[in-house]
């Protein structure tokens, strides 16, 4: 594809020791290695291509099924593919479930993560930071199924303790959105903290010194100087965390439940976090665990749901990337 980028001149001169090698042979070898490397790059492109191809092909097949229309799928408020006499494929109950859990997760993760990040970067002594940063990395490495187990056996009973203060029709059940959301929040907490802290620390010290020089306290410096300067990085971190929360599977499969929100009957269910919800990933797990007969519309619907999920995370990732690249302030 491309020849070597920086070939220094005069490399064909005689070598003082060792065998003389043919320059041409070496060039052929370099080209061979280069094309092997290019294959690696092509492989990553092929992966994306294959994801899009598979999702598009099966979604197309799904939309071609009886009782399924494109607008009914994109705009429908009822998702009922497995039970009952009539199948309904309207994606919004699943999207609402996903967004609900992501929202709870962000309510948990963003304030805690952001404040921890500011503290780590601006206040904490170096020794404490050197302990806490690896701990955050460990937290980030815990498998998600562990968080799902935690949600099911600790968070849910914890939330049910509050049931005594809640009205009878808004009690926390065994499966609920809040529990899954809190667990997803704890899962994304290290991502928010670590990436925000990186962004905050990338702000040059001269800005802080200038602020102190003008008589600002540390609090004022962090909040009014450092934080705005790092905002693009922080927003990118936030979007990445949202993408992670949206795509989270095992936690919601264990703790969120398996009945989609009945948005067509009560639209307000979309903000009731005590309810059992089924997000997009939860539905996919249900299908691939074999709850549906293979090759019916309900089986192919999981591909269409996956396509919507892929689009959502794709948009979030790209926006995050663009924000980081475009709005990054370069300090010299």
């Amino acid at each position: 594809m491309t020849t070597a980028a920086t070939v220094p001149a005069g490399m064909s001169g005689p070598q003082p020791r060792g065998r003389r090698r043919s320059v041409r042979l070496r060039k052929v070898r370099e080209a061979g290695i280069m094309s092997t490397l290019v294959m690696g790059g092509v492989f990553s492109l092929l992966t994306t291509g294959a994801i899009i191809f598979v999702l598009a092909r099966e979604s197309y097949r799904f939309l071609g099924e009886e009782d399924v229309t494109f607008w009914g799928f994109i705009g429908g408020l009822q998702w009922n593919p497995l039970l009952g006499a009539e199948q309904h494929f309207g994606i919004w109950p699943l999207i609402a479930g996903t967004l609900m859990i992501a929202a709870v997760a962000m309510i948990v993760a963003v304030p805690l993560g952001l404040v921890t990040a500011i503290w780590l970067s601006e206040y904490a002594p170096a020794t404490l930071r050197s302990i806490l940063k690896p701990v955050l990395e460990i937290l980030a490495g815990i498998p998600t199924v562990v968080f799902g187990f935690f949600a099911l056996t600790v968070v849910t009973p914890g939330l049910q303790w509050f049931n005594r203060f809640l009205p009878g029709d808004h009690q926390f059940g065994v499966y609920n959105a809040a529990s899954a959301g809190i667990a997803v929040g704890i899962l994304t907490l290290p991502i928010v903290t670590s990436l925000s802290e990186d962004a905050l620390r990338a702000v040059p010290g001269s800005l802080r010194e200038a602020s102190y020089g003008l008589g600002a306290t540390r609090f004022e410096t962090s909040l009014k100087v450092v934080f705005p300067a790092a905002l693009s990085g922080i927003i990118a971190a936030f979007l990445l965390a949202v993408a992670r929360a949206v795509g989270e599977t095992m936690i919601v499969a264990l703790a969120a439940g398996s009945s989609p929100l009945p948005l067509h009957e009560e639209p307000t269910a979309a903000i009731d976090i005590t309810r059992e919800v089924q997000p997009m990933t939860g539905y996919m797990v249900q299908i691939f665990l074999g709850d549906a007969s293979n090759f019916g519309p309900e089986y192919f619907s999981s591909y269409a749901v996956a396509a919507v999920l892929f689009l959502m995370t794709f948009v979030l990732t790209v926006i995050g990337h663009v924000i980081r690249k475009k709005f990054q302030q370069v300090y010299e």
């Binding site: 594809m1 070597a4 980028a5 920086t6 220094p8 490399m11 001169g13 070598q15 370099e30 490397l37 690696g40 790059g41 492989f43 990553s44 492109l45 992966t47 994306t48 294959a50 994801i51 598979v54 805690l112 404040v115 921890t116 503290w119 206040y123 302990i131 806490l132 490495g141 498998p143 998600t144 199924v145 562990v146 968080f147 799902g148 935690f150 056996t153 600790v154 009973p157 303790w161 704890i186 907490l189 306290t217 609090f219 962090s222 990445l240 949206v246 795509g247 599977t249 264990l254 990933t281 996919m284 691939f288 665990l289 074999g290 999981s302 999920l309 892929f310 995370t313 794709f314 990732t317």
Partner: protein, 558 residues
């Protein structure tokens, strides 16, 4: 103190409210408090996570959440004070401590002693059994929480992780080298380069379950290009057999051409061999000619069953001696011809195992016992006989290198799917490691006449190797913990054996844990907790290795 005098401001555009220094300092302090609170809540969440899992795996369970929360706080205090005391103690000894330091150390020491005492007391209060045992590690899954184990899942994890590492590392490092070391100069190629980079950023954000769906189509079915997984178009290292069972229960095998070959008839076979390859003496008997004998055997067995049922209903004491006597009596009464030694003992054991259970349990135990008797009776009457109309079952003898296309729901498909999941992580980590190698080293290598590839091979890659290895190990720990893509590839299958080849059905530890955690019985949740501890211990080893490599090989390039 509270409100400083508002200095009149010259213009409207310049409207800063001046606050007193004290007020601003209070705000600063408050914010520090908030920060420490937030950090503590985060740490408490982590501690709660660990303590709840550990306590469940070791039989320390609570009826409500409040004690569990208290336990979490207790462990948190223990941890915090056990860090604080050794840090502060030297200062106290060297008399450098300020008054505040002294107060802190006294509080920390008291907290440490009290919380350790409380933890020991709690440990004594354990009510449940210990679930994380050696037995649990080496057993296969079972319906009973006390007997279940994680061994096949562990082996499955090791095999998929090996496949994943062997494929992801070369591809990932090659891509990283391409992106970092061979940046093109041409305008269009630079665009392509940027596009690949953006693509990898995007791939890192794709949910893992979507990779599972891709793997299902691309690896399990290979896009349907080679037939279905049940009828693969290409196989290697497999032999197909028709398997017969003689009336003595001996397994006989007849090789056939392939999976789709028509069933063999016993009449056509000239030489019989057992599974181990020895020649077997087999009499082929037409069923019609032995009809009377078969009927007699059936009648005897039926009589035995009936009389056993009767006897068990009126048994005075349900113990081994009583049962043995009952079996013996029923045996003689039914007129069975089989050799009673051994068989009767087996029957008694089966019935004893069911205990005094009634209803379905008892009937199932009796059914099993009768099956044993029936087999013995048929063996006694027809030793080494195979009926001519016996129908075989198609079995496969697979070599360890068994391979087929499409890959099917096997270890290889699972490992390759995990490779897709971790590939972006490996690429990004390797890129960062390569970027950390200073330009001057490359320049020196190039100046000595090395080609770009030689520079990469001999200079850049070795220098970046520790960083790459750290990244690879962290990526592998991600692969080991990943459950969603494997769930799509393997499904929840009840695996009670170790995969023998790369096409075999399998399960992995996170998936097995998910399986247990989603069971309704609470005992299985404790089993899941034990599995989680094991999984996290493995991951901790991985992470520790990564950190160790990073620290041992950290060279400063400047």
């Amino acid at each position: 103190m509270m409100e400083a005098a508002n200095i009149p401001v010259p213009t409207a555009a310049f409207s800063i409210r001046f606050r007193s220094r004290a007020q601003r300092r209070v705000k600063d302090r408050l914010f520090v408090g908030l920060c420490i609170f937030a950090a503590s809540v985060s740490m408490l969440a982590l501690v709660m996570l660990l303590t709840s899992i550990i306590s469940q795996a070791f039989g320390l369970t609570f009826d409500s959440v409040l004690p569990a929360l208290l336990l979490g706080i207790l462990v948190f205090t223990t941890g915090a004070s056990s860090i604080a005391v050794p840090v502060m103690l030297p200062r106290l000894v060297r008399r450098k401590a300020s008054r505040r330091d002294r107060i802190i150390i006294v509080i920390a020491a008291v907290a440490l002693i009290v919380s350790i005492a409380l933890l020991v007391w709690l440990w004594q209060m354990r009510t449940g059994r210990t679930w994380l045992t050696w037995q649990f590690i080496v057993s296969v899954p079972s319906r009973f929480p006390e007997l279940t184990g994680i061994w096949p899942a562990m082996i499955g994890t090791v095999m998929t992780a090996a496949v994943c590492a062997l494929t992801a590392v070369p591809v990932g490092v090659a891509t990283a080298v391409l992106l970092e070391e061979f940046r093109p100069r041409h305008r269009i190629l630079r665009k392509a380069h940027g596009f690949v980079q953006l693509n990898i950023t995007n791939l890192a954000g794709v949910p893992s379950i979507v990779y599972g769906i891709l793997g299902l189509t691309a690896f399990v079915q290979v896009f349907g290009a080679f037939g279905t997984p049940n009828d693969p178009a290409f196989t290697l290292g497999v032999k197909w057999y028709d398997q017969f069972y003689t009336e003595s229960g001996e397994a006989l095998v007849v090789p056939v051409a392939d999976q789709a070959a028509p069933s063999t008839s016993p009449r056509d076979v000239t030489e019989w061999r057992t599974e181990s390859g020895e020649v077997a003496q087999v009499r082929i008997v037409e069923r019609e000619s032995a009809a009377a004998e078969i009927e007699a055997a059936d009648a005897a067995v039926e009589a035995f069953e009936e009389s056993m049922e009767e006897r068990m209903g009126s048994l005075a004491s349900f113990d081994a001696a009583g049962l043995a006597a009952a079996v013996e009596e029923a045996w003689v009464e039914a007129g069975l011809t089989a050799d009673a030694t051994g068989v009767q003992g087996e029957v008694v054991e089966l019935l004893l195992a069911a205990g005094e259970a009634t209803g379905r349990e008892a009937r199932r135990a009796l059914r099993q016992a009768v099956d044993v008797v029936e087999r013995a009776e048929m063996h006694a009457r027809f030793p080494g006989v195979l009926f001519a109309d016996a129908s075989p079952s198609r079995t496969a003898e697979t070599k360890p290198w068994y391979f087929r296309l499409p890959l099917g729901r096997g270890v290889l498909a699972g490992g390759l799917t995990l490779m897709l999941v971790v590939l972006p992580i490996v690429i990004i980590a390797s890129q960062e490691a390569l970027r950390a190698v200073p330009r001057s080293m490359r320049a020196a290598s190039l100046a000595l006449g090395a080609t770009p590839w030689q520079t990469v091979r001999r200079t850049t890659l070795p220098a970046a190797l520790p960083g790459i290895m750290t990244g690879v190990i962290l990526a592998m720990s991600r692969a080991i913990g990943e459950a969603a893509p494997i769930l799509v590839i393997a499904g929840i299958v009840y695996i009670t054996f170790i995969p023998h080849h790369l096409m075999d059905d399998f399960t992995v530890m996170p998936l097995q844990i998910y399986n247990w955690a989603s069971q309704p019985q609470e005992d299985f949740h404790f089993v899941a907790a034990a599995g989680i501890i094991l999984l996290m211990a493995i991951l901790l080893c991985f992470n520790a290795t990564a950190i160790l490599i990073r620290q041992k090989t950290q060279k400063q390039f400047s």
